[in-house]
Symmetry: C2
Subunit: 433 residues, 2 copies
């Protein structure tokens, strides 16, 4: 089976995943003398750092996602395949998709991470995490529906249900979500409800560890916690969640009633890591060599959140977007070097700093020696995220949405759209014989 019929003698590269790592690998191979196929289950690259803004109705899905084909339009040697990987044959050098085998000379696996519920997959239904556009619109639906339901109960002369938003996990995603809910409840919705006051919402951020943003320096964790409290978020550290049921989060014996529960507590590697049949760490990430290849398979690279890589100082490479971008570009460069007869390099992560946004005009930034908090950190976050947002069009539109939301306090994308499943149930009722 020879999928790339144009150039039978050119090396074939298959890239699995069109996230930050995969898309950057593919872009780096544009125009090189090889045939590249990028495989993803979705037709779009998602700018994950802004997903929470879709969940909080500031941005629309199309503003933080671009079709993979559009991103790679100007790379005639790069083909895009919509499909799900069901297996690998590393000996025959085949990627097995549902109904289609793709042969490769070089393989770059960049399948990313998914939510981890610490052995409680049944929690996922009650506490969705935030990894895809579908996750984001589902979270948006739940948050907006909580306010609508409360208003409706008061109209029906029944007691108002508590407007409790519980966010589990105070990593960057949890902090963003908690801060953004405070923004939307405290300002944007207040004028639009007649019976309830969204400002009386409780936003509870639960963190199992001793401080928020555990991967940040301690002073920035403290600053983030202070900024969150100023915004009215109840921050509870060393609060280990022991159970999640519909509407209730348990911390030890305490049961916290919750209208919406969101999960920001942990991620786990894509199951594709284990499908490779090579050593993985406890989180399912593939333990890679210094050149990001799999032991015994110098032609198979694993990059991005799926890779368990070490820095020269022995520290792990963090699971952040800049690391994924660097790893994707690195793998592409190694393939080009090998084909050019040059020796391989060793990967080293260049840490340019970390930024976590908290809310309107609030953020923390860790640039190594410089730690910044508040407005300036937020402006830096804004600038950097616009800079890296893929596609000129998206950048322009996101900038206008942000300006609009900032000036008017009006979140434009506040739509409750039904998931498909519910539609199936409801449609027959609307049918007229």
């Amino acid at each position: 089976m020879l999928p790339m019929t144009q150039h039978v003698n050119r090396p074939r590269v298959v890239v699995i995943g069109a996230g930050f790592a995969g898309i950057n690998a593919a872009k780096s191979l544009a125009g090189a003398p090889m045939d590249v196929a990028v495989v993803d289950r979705k037709n779009h690259h998602t700018f994950q750092p802004l997903l929470y803004q879709v969940a909080l109705a500031v941005l629309s899905p199309a503003e933080i996602a671009s079709p993979v084909r559009t991103v790679l339009r100007r790379a005639p040697n790069v083909e895009v395949v919509l499909g799900e990987v069901v297996g690998f044959d590393l000996e025959k050098r085949l990627v097995r998709l549902d109904g289609l085998d793709l042969p490769y000379d070089y393989l770059i696996v960049a399948a990313g991470a998914t939510h981890a519920y610490f052995g409680h997959p049944e929690w996922e239904e009650f506490a969705p995490g935030l990894k895809t556009l579908e996750d984001a619109t589902e979270i948006r639906r739940r948050i907006l529906l909580a306010f609508e339901t409360a208003e409706r109960e008061v109209i029906a002369n029944r007691p108002q249900p508590p407007l409790n938003f519980v966010v589990v996990g105070a990593g960057p995603t949890g902090v963003e979500l908690a801060g953004a809910i405070s923004d939307i409840a405290g300002r944007h919705l207040t004028k639009e409800f007649r019976k309830i006051d969204p400002r009386h919402s409780r936003i509870i951020l639960l963190e199992g560890g001793p401080r928020v943003l555990p991967t940040y320096p301690e002073d920035l964790s403290a600053s983030a916690e202070r900024q969150l409290r100023e915004m009215g978020v109840e921050v509870r550290t060393s609060a280990m969640v022991t159970n999640i049921e519909p509407g209730v989060v348990s911390v030890g014996k305490e049961k916290i009633p919750a209208s919406v529960i969101l999960w920001g507590a942990g991620v786990s590697a894509s199951p594709l890591g284990r499908m490779l049949g090579v050593p993985t760490d406890r989180a399912g990430r593939v333990i890679v060599e210094r050149d990001l290849t799999v032991p015994g398979h110098a032609e198979v690279f694993v990059v991005g959140d799926l890779a368990s890589a070490k820095r020269r100082n022995g520290q792990p490479v963090p699971g952040v977007a800049p690391a994924a971008i660097q790893m994707g570009k690195f793998a592409a460069r190694q393939i080009k070097r090998v084909l050019a007869g040059k020796p391989r390099e060793e990967f080293e992560y260049l840490d340019k700093g970390s930024l976590a946004t908290i809310g309107r005009s609030r953020a923390v930034a860790d640039f190594g020696k410089f730690h910044i908090s508040g407005l300036f950190a937020w402006l830096a976050w804004l600038f950097i995220h616009l800079l890296f947002l893929i596609g000129f069009r998206n950048r322009l539109f996101v900038m206008s949405e942000w300006a609009w939301a900032y000036l008017t306090y009006n979140h434009g994308a506040r739509l409750i759209t039904e998931p498909g499943e519910k539609e199936q149930v409801e449609k027959p009722r609307a049918r007229v014989g």
Copy 2:
């Protein structure tokens, strides 16, 4: 049960439906000495004339929809209730929602229309119509997926499936959809596929009657057909669809293979019309008096697509947006007149003309004496639709999207997002123990 506790002595008006008719009724009652409740199953008002642009990935859902609360934000006497009507008690003057009864002194029912499959509800699954945002994103998913699947089959060295897009019904929606598919296949997608040529798509528009746009003057029907043919659309009139199966549309004995089938053939009134227990016409529309009230219930108005109303000349009031807007405003004005002790008026539809868009720079317009075709009709369409699009923000953003799409041939919202149902099936596979 007294939902409106602030002003127990003020008349209570319940408006069912936040489409063009309902939202205009509610806006007209803003600030009047009465308590108004607007009930809708969705939290947003959808600008239906632009739905096809969401289906064809030019616009995002948020650009043609506004939260009902936002539209009515400045009307403190208007409350919004998210809920589904399950029944009426016209004697007790109650609207029954799921778990909540709303009493009224005046009722305005503006529940609109839904797709009609002429006694074949099983066709809906294979040939979706275009009434809601969910319909639009589902159609978008099917069209984009057809190209992806064809590309994938060629990569797998299998025969390319036919890229046949069959649109059933050549009313304004069918014509818009056919023209827009031609636009997207002929220009926007051509540079992004490596194995297939989207320009080789066939777009087949089937109309049971003798001409396209049957409600338009004959010369404009002929012009629309000519413009469609110039765009490569195969127009087949007097072609009655006899069966729809997955991938096949039957016209008599002929079976037309189709990768995507879309339904623009007919609408039927909302089932709420029959729930009222008053006389309806064959399509389920409520036969109203000259003041748009139900016989025997001068306090119950039925407006918009759900109403079967007659003009003074005996012609039916057409099921178009301007008529719905005029009827909604009329009902509101009658309530205010009655409360002011003034006599009721008779409704008369003011026909300002009809516009149907066909594709980039192509449209037809019927302004009574003046019939326009082509670029000028299209510019008129553009201007009028921007003018009536609800909300300054949406207008601004839609204008920029249109300018962008027109200048770059780049459709920005080309996302395939999964319906919720499929997500439920897929998620367990992505879970890591």
